[in-house]
Symmetry: C2
Subunit: 254 residues, 2 copies
């Protein structure tokens, strides 16, 4: 994959934001922590950023840190011998990256957009987890949510048609956008797709041609409008949802 490099070529590392100003303060692993806990976390944390397209960790590589997504979108991807790939996770702000107690990464993690992370070296973080029950408790909650999302995803991959997959994907994005603004999605919604057609295909278990064709079909059927390569207008959220195959209430927000 071609990567355009900034003046700073390697992922930049700097100690920056304090937890007080952190945009994910109340949604990340640290959400339940109190002032005292935060001090300890803050002393150990360091920031890192990656540009769109950069690989954050390669599958099989040793991984000595864990991190929270502060901004941007990253993907977890798995590959078969012959090169077929499937996305198996999509990391958004506040999501947790890495597994305490695990030495090597099982998936390749790639920055899909520009990404910034709040990192901790793994060992000290495991220490903190052992001494502060708020961390494992919150991580459990987040992992259970991720498992729910993965199960919704299994249904999508196993049983939905290409059209339903696209409709589901767009609905999921809309719900997520809305939830950032503490809203419930409805009516007309404008989105910017964080993923290329190829990445969408990897997410949905399709080819990029099929993704493109189905996007065109939804446009033809007046369910969406396309604004350039990445802009999409969902003309009517409820209508789109009815194309997704799910039952009415639309499942879980990631």
């Amino acid at each position: 994959m071609h990567v355009k490099l900034n003046p700073v070529e390697r992922p930049s590392t700097q100690v920056t934001l304090s937890c007080d100003d952190c945009p994910i303060r109340y949604r990340a692993v640290c959400a339940n922590c109190e002032a005292g806990d935060l001090e300890r976390l803050e002393a150990a944390k360091y920031d890192r950023s990656y540009q769109a397209g950069q690989v954050i960790v390669w599958a099989g590589e040793r991984m000595d840190f864990v991190a929270s997504m502060v901004s941007g979108v990253a993907s977890l991807t798995q590959a078969l011998e012959d090169g077929r790939t499937q996305m198996v996770g999509l990391l958004l702000p506040s999501d947790f990256l890495g597994r305490p107690g695990r030495e090597t990464a099982p998936y390749t993690v790639t920055a899909v957009t520009d990404v910034s992370l709040c990192c901790f070296r793994r060992k000290p973080f495991e220490e903190m987890m052992a001494h502060n029950p708020r961390l494992p408790a919150r991580l459990l909650e987040m992992t259970l949510d991720e498992l729910d999302a993965a199960r919704e995803w299994l249904m999508l991959l196993g049983r939905k048609s290409a059209r339903e997959k696209i409709a589901s994907f767009l609905s999921i994005l809309a719900r997520r956008e809305a939830s950032l603004r503490h809203e419930r999605p409805s009516g007309e919604i404008e989105l910017t797709l964080p993923l290329t057609r190829e990445a969408m295909a990897d997410y949905l278990g399709l080819t990029l041609e099929t993704v493109s064709r189905q996007m065109s079909a939804l446009k033809r059927d007046k369910l969406i409008e396309l604004r350039g390569k990445r802009g999409v207008v969902l003309v009517d959220y409820e209508l789109l949802l009815s194309e997704s195959g799910d039952d009415a209430d639309g499942g879980l927000v990631h």
Copy 2:
């Protein structure tokens, strides 16, 4: 679904096994607990059993207990409006059923074989989790393992051919069987399938006809032998694995 009923029609409830004799003592949520912890758990626990085919919980139903699988196999299943179904979880002995802090079940849980559970009413269990960090810590570990398994499953559903799906499924079963005996699978392996063709289809995102056809094809190609409806002999585990599409080491045990 037709269910043959025992003399005891409803799931039987009895206080039986002590934790000392429990076959899943060192693998379930309670794995890390010590004598004192176990006393409290033992005081609150009650057993329950279900026959093959019985529904344990319906999706959307209120669920006031959590449980560990003691024996048997159960499935988590999700359905779309029009009746298409996808299995989204397969519970084996020591697996945990239910989510602390959640009121209603998001999936239908069905006993695939006869099943026995070690149950706790949800509220008291949440209490114990809050006071005993070994429980949430172990549950986190188990949930992370389940998430890994779900991600392997995403790859299977999204990118594998019908033949590869069947080969993967049989390999997974073999690995699991072997791990119960603390072995590494290899060579010739005899299995009893816990699932019907239909349940396999639900697991693999296929139709039951396709499952049947691919089983026949593997038989024709001398990769497996069939012994009645449920018996399968994997003639050569390594050879079968090479048909599964995965890279050599074969991924994670559930």
